[in-house]
Amino acid sequence: MTKKIIRYGLIFVFFGYSACAESYDDSVLEIVSKILPRLVLMSSQKNTIDNRIGICVAHEPSDTEEADTLIRKIRTNYPTGIKGYPLVLSSYEYKNVAACQKNQIAFLFDSNGETIKKAVRILHKNGVLSMSYDPIYLENGVESSLFIGRKVTPYIHFDVLQQNGIEIDNALLQISKIYSQRDGK
């Protein structure tokens, strides 16, 4: 009986954990790791750089490991920084997202819409460029994401960028897909 209880308990924990944890595509994360520092340098955010580029990763507690993975990937791709700027990488849970205020960009792992909205509001207030894993959050005011279709391309919420006074390099715009409310709907 005890064995049964233990077995069912383990099955419950496993499925419970699996149900709460999101699955992230490694290749997409790889792209994200490459795009984050460049997004800073190819936007007006480069004007806010003070000897370093700060990249913040916001996540739910369940995505801590994924966030670490992303940070590792960024470090792997940019071991000495980029264009002479060292990268300062940090990871915070959504409840501490305000800690991202001194960074140039924040990457948002999946969460519920309200949390995302709240985080975005804080980030925008502090002039931090936001990027989410899931493009669905663009409708919540996230400024950029990745469009994943037959190919993966940057996904830009141009209206929000304009509202926040952030400009994007022309080359980046050319390879990006521009988000519109219709897409969201």
Binding site: R150, K151, T153, A171
Partner: protein, 423 residues
């Protein structure tokens, strides 16, 4: 046939040909310019293409967006039909994208930027070299245009070359004709009439000039014959006139030196002759004798029988006196009126006296003088002889004066005698 076309027309045709050739060259140059502009525009278009895709491709590579890169480059290849080869490699020379269309290889005349472009791909952020892109473009149209233009150029050159050859041959032929004409005109000598060219059938300007010269030479020839005849006639007339002049001169000389009545030398000639004899005797240091003789009572003859009879007497006496003188150097002249002078070179007074005696004998031997039925009494002469060896200071007329003095004395002493003065 061609020689019947006027040079004027030939020149007009030559000018038209020249203008056509010039237009051909101009067209060739124009096409070359268009080709170079075509090449430049193609180069600009290709450069623009590479400049457009390079940052996008660079960004895609740097972000690892391989699928996006592929899709983008596929789209580029689809939109650029002249693109025959596209190769994108990363910094480690790994092929990231390749596209090759089956087209002929690019010719060796292919130009960079027009037919192919090779460009490094830079990271748009770091400007590091992250790959290379090589594009090749179809040069079929360009090559076709170039070949066509080269063919046109070659045709123009060939036409020009053959036209030039023909022109040179024609000029040489024309000049040979003109040179031959010039040589004949140069060597033409009307005296030997060595112009052998005949009239030509040519109707052009060269033919006209040729025939004009031949006609002119004919006229010169006939005029030369006429002139020769006139010259010959003139020479004959000159010869005749010269002969007449010479005769007249001789007659004039005779008239100027001869007494027309007695036909003896006159006084002028006498003086010239005596002067010469005088100078000769002075040099030879020999004697010169002068006998001056005068017909006694000649005025009475004139008064009695008239001057005509007097003239006959003078002529006879002159003839008689002349016949007495034998030596070549002996000389007799009429001195004036009824006076005669005899000059005897290298003759002393004694020999002169002998001559006088001979003269008296000759006169006295003529018993009577008859003229036109009139018989004259005996005529006598008085002689004055002067004989000297001329010296430096003496003059010939001194001798005449001496002879005159001697004659005067002979007259004073009773006439019909001789009186001598000198050694």
């Amino acid at each position: 046939m061609i020689r019947n076309i006027s040079i004027e027309l030939k020149m007009i045709l030559g000018a038209i040909l020249f203008v056509l050739l010039l237009s051909g060259f101009e067209r060739y140059e124009f096409t070359q310019n268009i080709l170079s502009q075509f090449a430049e525009s193609k180069k600009a278009k290709n450069t623009l293409l590479v400049n457009t895709i390079s940052p996008i491709v660079g960004l895609n590579i740097s972000l690892g967006l391989d699928d996006a890169n592929h899709e983008y480059l596929d789209q580029i290849v689809r939109q650029n039909h002249d693109l025959t080869h596209f190769l994108l490699t990363d910094a480690d020379n790994r092929v990231l994208y390749r596209y090759t269309k089956n087209v002929p290889p690019i010719s060796h005349t292919a130009k960079d930027g027009v037919h192919s472009i090779h460009r490094p791909i830079l990271d748009p952020v770091t400007q590091e070299r992250i790959g290379e892109v090589t594009l090749r473009f179809d040069d079929h149209e360009y090559r076709q245009l170039l070949e066509k233009n080269h063919e046109t150029g070659l045709r123009i050159y060939l036409i020009t070359f053959f036209a030039l050859l023909l022109f040179v041959a024609y000029i040489r032929q024309e000049f040979r004709f003109l040179k031959q004409l010039s040589r004949h005109v140069h060597n033409y000598d009307p005296r030997i009439n060595n112009f052998s060219l005949q009239s030509t059938e040519r109707k052009d300007e060269v033919g006209i000039i040729h025939n004009a010269i031949v006609s002119m030479v004919d006229r010169i020839r006939s005029h030369t014959v006429l002139l020769d005849d006139m010259n010959r006639s003139l020479a004959q007339k000159v010869e005749e006139r010269t002969k007449e002049l010479q005769d007249a001169n001789v007659r004039l000389l005779e008239l100027s030196t001869t007494d027309p009545l007695t036909l003896l030398p006159n006084r002028r000639y006498l003086e010239d002759h005596l002067h010469n004899i005088w100078e000769l005797a002075k040099r030879q240091n020999v004697s010169v004798s002068v006998i001056m003789c005068d017909i006694d009572h000649f005025k009475r003859i004139n008064d009695t029988y008239g001057h005509i009879i007097g003239d006959f007497v003078l002529k006879d006496i002159a003839l008689l006196l002349k016949t007495v003188l034998k030596r070549n150097t002996d000389f007799i002249a009429r001195f004036g009126g009824e006076e005669f002078i005899v000059i005897l070179y290298d003759t002393g007074v004694d020999d002169a006296k002998n001559v006088c005696q001979s003269m008296q004998a000759a006169i006295s031997s003529k018993k009577r003088f008859e003229y036109q039925g009139i018989s004259l009494e005996t005529v006598t002469l008085s002689f004055g002889i002067a004989s000297v060896i001329p010296h430096t200071d003496s003059q010939y007329y001194d001798l005449i004066n001496l002879a005159d003095m001697a004659l005067y004395r002979a007259k004073q002493e009773g006439r019909s005698r001789f009186v001598s003065i000198g050694n």
